[in-house]
Subunit: 254 residues, 2 copies
C-alpha cells in the first residue's frame, strides 16, 4: 500500500486536517491505515487524541535511537494507529542536516518494518522543506498537496511542484502527486478564481473533491477526534469522505 | 523606534497579512516604517508589490555578504520600504546553524545602520524557530504574535510564550509581547471560545483589537497592495487601522 506524504511549505493550508480525516476515512473503510507525525509541533498527535508523548515514545526515538517504527505506534480512539511527534524532532535539522544519508532514514525504516508494509501510511509534514520533510518525500510513493483557496497559498504550489520535479530527477523515479483545494469558501469569488488558476496550471493533478471551509473541521481537533466522530453530518465530513473515495478509486493508495 | 518581530511557529495565522497592513497603516500615519522580509517564501515581498528579487538584492545578501541593510531597501507603491526576501535565505540554517554568533547578525546590522534607527521596523518571520527567526527575535524590541481563532493555533501560543520567556532569561532582558487574535469569524462559537481561552491565560497581553475574517485581507496580496488601497471601506481595513492605533497609543512602537 502507498506511503503518502502530505506536504506544502505554506503554513496553515490544512495538511494536518487532511491527514487526520483521510486517515480516519481509510480506517472507517477497513483499510487499517497508519499515520506518522513528522511535525515537531505535533498537531496531528494532538488532534488524534494521543496528546503529548515523551521523546522516547515519539518519532524522535526512531531517528535518534533507531527504535523500530512499529514500537512507536499508539492507538487512536477510532482504532487507527499513529507514531507521534515530539518537540525533540525540531533538533534533527541541526543534528542531521549535513549527513547525506539522513534523508533516507525513514525510507529504510519503513522497508525494514514488515509490520507496516500492508497498510496505507499517511505522513503529516511541517511547513518546511528540511531533513524531516525530505525523509517523508524520499519515503513516499505519493505526495498529497493541500492548497487553501487563497492567493498566498497559490504561490507556494508552483514552487513545490518544481521542487518535486527536481527531486524526481535526483531520485530517477516519478513522485505522483495530487493537489487538494482546501478551505474553499463558496461565498467568495476569490475561492473560484484560485481554483480556476490551479486547474489551468495543473489540470488533472487537481482533485475533483474540494474541501469546503467548515467549522466542524476546525473544532474536531479540540476534542482529539476526527470530523466523522465529531459531526458525521457536517459538510466537512462529507467532503473528506468524498476525497478518500476519489483517491482510493483512482488508485492513489495502491 | 521599536523593532517588532511578527512571529508564531504555527503556519497560516496571519503573520504576513499583519506585517503588510500594520506597516501600511504606520506609513499612512506618516511614521516612515520599514519592513524586513525574513521568510524565504517571500510572501511579504510579493504582497507589497515588490515581487521576486535576485538573492543579491535580498536579505540573503545581508547575511551572506554583509551588504548594508539600507542598500537592500526597495520602495512599495505606497512609499514604505522593504528589504525583500529570496529563496536563498532557506540555506542559512544549514550554513550558519552551528555558529553561535549567527543569531545576532541582524541586531548588529540594525545598530550599525544609522539610516534605520529612526523608523519603526516590522520583521515578517517564517513559521519556524530557526536561525532567521532567532535573528529577528534577538534584534526585536517587541514581538507581535498573531494567533488565528482556532484550536490548533491556540496550542502554538503557549509554547511560544514559554520559548520567549526562556529567551528573556538568556538575554537578561525583557521581550515585551502582544498577542493578536486574527481570522476571527464572528459567526462561529469556536472563535469566541478560543478568544476567551486566550484572555484567561494571557490577560492584558491580548490586543483589544481582533482582526475579523475578511476576504479583502486575502485578496489585496494578489494585487501587491495593502488592504487600505484595495478596499479602504472593508472591515479588514477598519480592523488593521484600529490595531495600528491601539499599538501606537499603548507605546508598542516607542
Ligand atoms: N476546511 C476547513 N474548514 C475550517 N477550518 C479548517 C479547514 N481546514 C483546516 N482548518 C483549520 O485551519 C487551521 C489550519 O489547518 P491545519 O493546521 O490543518 O493546516 P496545516 O497546513 O497543517 O498547518 P501547519 O503548516 O501549521 O502545519 C487549523 O486550525 C484547522 O483546524
Ligand atoms: N483576517 C483574515 N481574513 C481573511 N483572510 C486572511 C486573514 N488573515 C490572513 N488571511 C489569509 O490567510 C492566509 C494565511 O495568512 P498569512 O499568509 O498572512 O499567514 P502567515 O502566518 O504569514 O503564514 P505562513 O506561516 O505561511 O508565513 C493568506 O492567504 C491570507 O491572505
Ligand atoms: Mg500541520
Ligand atoms: Mg507569512
Amino acid at each position: 500500500m502507498a506511503v503518502v506524504a502530505v506536504f506544502n511549505q505554506k503554513g496553515g493550508v490544512g495538511k494536518t486536517t487532511t491527514c487526520l480525516n483521510v486517515t480516519a476515512a481509510l480506517s472507517i473503510a477497513g483499510t487499517n491505515p497508519v499515520a506518522l507525525d513528522l511535525d515537531p509541533q505535533g498537531h496531528l498527535t494532538l488532534a488524534s487524541g494521543v496528546g503529548h508523548v515523551t521523546s522516547d515514545h515519539s518519532m524522535a526515538a526512531f531517528f535518534n535511537h533507531k527504535t523500530p517504527l512499529v514500537q512507536l505506534l499508539q492507538d487512536t480512539s477510532r482504532g487507527w494507529q499513529i507514531a507521534p511527534a515530539s518537540l525533540e524532532l525540531a533538533k534533527l535539522d541541526a543534528l542531521l542536516g549535513s549527513d547525506p544519508h539522513a534523508a533516507s532514514l525513514l525510507k529504510k525504516g519503513l522497508q525494514e518494518d514488515l509490520a507496516l508494509t500492508g497498510a496505507p501510511i499517511m505522513i503529516d509534514c511541517c511547513p518546511m522543506l528540511g531533513v524531516l520533510t525530505l525523509n517523508a518525500l524520499l519515503a513516499a510513493d505519493r505526495v498529497l498537496v493541500p492548497v487553501s483557496a487563497d492567493f498566498l497559498s497559490l504561490q507556494g504550489v508552483q514552487r513545490l511542484d518544481s521542487a518535486l520535479n527536481v527531486l524526481e530527477k535526483k531520485l530517477s523515479r516519478k513522485i505522483p502527486r495530487r493537489i487538494l483545494v482546501t478551505r474553499f469558501d463558496s461565498r467568495r469569488k476569490l475561492s473560484y478564481d484560485i481554483y480556476d488558476k490551479l486547474r489551468d496550471q495543473f489540470g488533472s493533478l487537481i482533485c475533483n473533491t474540494r474541501i469546503g471551509e467548515n467549522v466542524a473541521l476546525a473544532t474536531s481537533p479540540m476534542h482529539g477526534i476526527d470530523v466523522f466522530e465529531y459531526d458525521n453530518h457536517s459538510t466537512g465530513a462529507a467532503d473528506y469522505r468524498a476525497l478518500a473515495k476519489e483517491l482510493w478509486e483512482s488508485g492513489f493508495f495502491a
